[in-house]
Symmetry: C2
Subunit: 216 residues, 2 copies
DNA sequence: ACGACCATACCGACTGGTTGGTATGGTCGT
DNA sequence: ACGACCATACCAACCAGTCGGTATGGTCGT
């Protein structure tokens, strides 16, 4: 039918990998775990992927196209005002916290922690993936900055990374506490901070966006 | 001599564990890795610890007493003004970023990511450790709040967690990029935010610390 | 002072189960 | 009949943990 549809086994393996790896980590996830979760045999696994590592690299790619789609299709993405898109993104992430911990956490944040020193290709893939997500966010932040804080001494990109760091750090606490409450509190602080940089959505102009600060 | 000194092998294993686990993660670290790094034999390892997991629990405890000591002995800890202690903490963490990635990252943040779903005791130990570190920080934040932002509608504890989340998230980016620049930028944003909550160190009173915000 | 006794620390070969990966053969659409 | 896809059996390497044993030093009865 669809010529670019992945073979079903391949697809199922990649999807199972995002769930299992986020729950158990990369090293602790065995190929048999994956096969069981995807209801696929080992022969099928190694037919589609020449190694566990190659599979996880493709899982990262698969994850990125999937999340890109989710955020692109989210309601906030079509807001006319870039500042509304930035705050819409924050609210969207906040609402995601209503799901279970393994569902709202980030595959790449989990992966990179345990592979950065031992699996260079995985590390690089996570770096690229996270940075490109920041880049998407940065475009909206930059547009909002030009409109609402043109003299600001902070860069849109540094704010993009800051937002992602708060999210990643919040995931760690959500895992530690098995509860998203801390993450919600963190997103509230983050929102308050962005309001101090860009003004709250609806404000005509923004306050203290030009406080002195060494270059970011 | 010292009756409570740990046997040297035990000590060496715990210290090796903090380094090796932070670099490779828990699951990927083998007992043989640890023994090699600590220059100890396997027999010795299992003489002191009845399992790998029991060892890592003790490594977390060891880590916590060690870091508690480091922060308690840091110069900022004796500042009279609590707000100076809070900003001193931030600067101290920023300066730590001059070391290598495996040196400034957090054992518990690394551990909890990959064990939260599979090793409940490890997860709980990390939760306790991180929360108690937040509690120490929270005391200074609360004192500073009473003095500089008594009407604030944010809780000191939520700010303590926010600070830690920014740090943990920054570590993830430092690992992904093998570089601490993003982390430095994040700490600069974090400082700017805390200045908006408490006023900059030296200010007599603080500005917008009472903006409306749902309870944290 | 001295030997019997014992606790602690340490050693490294070994084991049984697990793991990533392979070999080989079957099925099914075209 | 051919290749993409999938299944089963299998393997060698590796892993956490075990076990029998040595070294050292302290205690205590005599």
């Amino acid at each position: 039918m669809n010529p670019q549809a992945l073979p079903p086994s391949r697809q199922k393996i990649l999807e199972a990998a995002t769930d299992v790896v986020r729950a158990k980590g990369y090293a602790a996830t065995t190929v048999d775990d994956l096969c069981a979760a995807a209801r696929v045999t080992k022969g099928s696994f190694f037919h589609h992927f020449k190694s566990k590592e190659e599979m996880v690299l493709q899982a990262v790619a698969h994850w990125n196209t999937w999340t890109d789609g989710v955020f692109a299709a989210a309601p906030y993405a079509t807001a006319a005002d870039p500042r509304d898109r930035v705050f819409g993104y924050l609210d969207f992430r906040r609402d995601l916290l209503d799901h279970t911990v393994p569902q709202f956490t980030c595959l790449m944040g989990t992966l990179v922690q345990e592979t950065y020193a031992t699996h260079p290709d995985v590390r690089a893939a996570c770096d690229r993936g996270m940075s490109s997500h920041v880049a998407v966010l940065t475009r909206d932040i930059e547009a909002a900055r030009l409109q609402y804080a043109p003299d600001a001494n902070w860069s849109a990109e540094s704010v993009g990374y800051f937002i992602q760091a708060v999210l990643q750090g919040s995931f760690i606490f959500a895992k530690a506490k098995q509860d998203a409450e801390v993450a919600r509190g963190n997103l509230a602080h983050l929102r308050r901070y962005l309001e101090s940089l860009l003004g709250a959505p609806g404000d005509v102009r923004t306050p203290n966006s030009d406080r002195q600060e060494p270059g970011l």
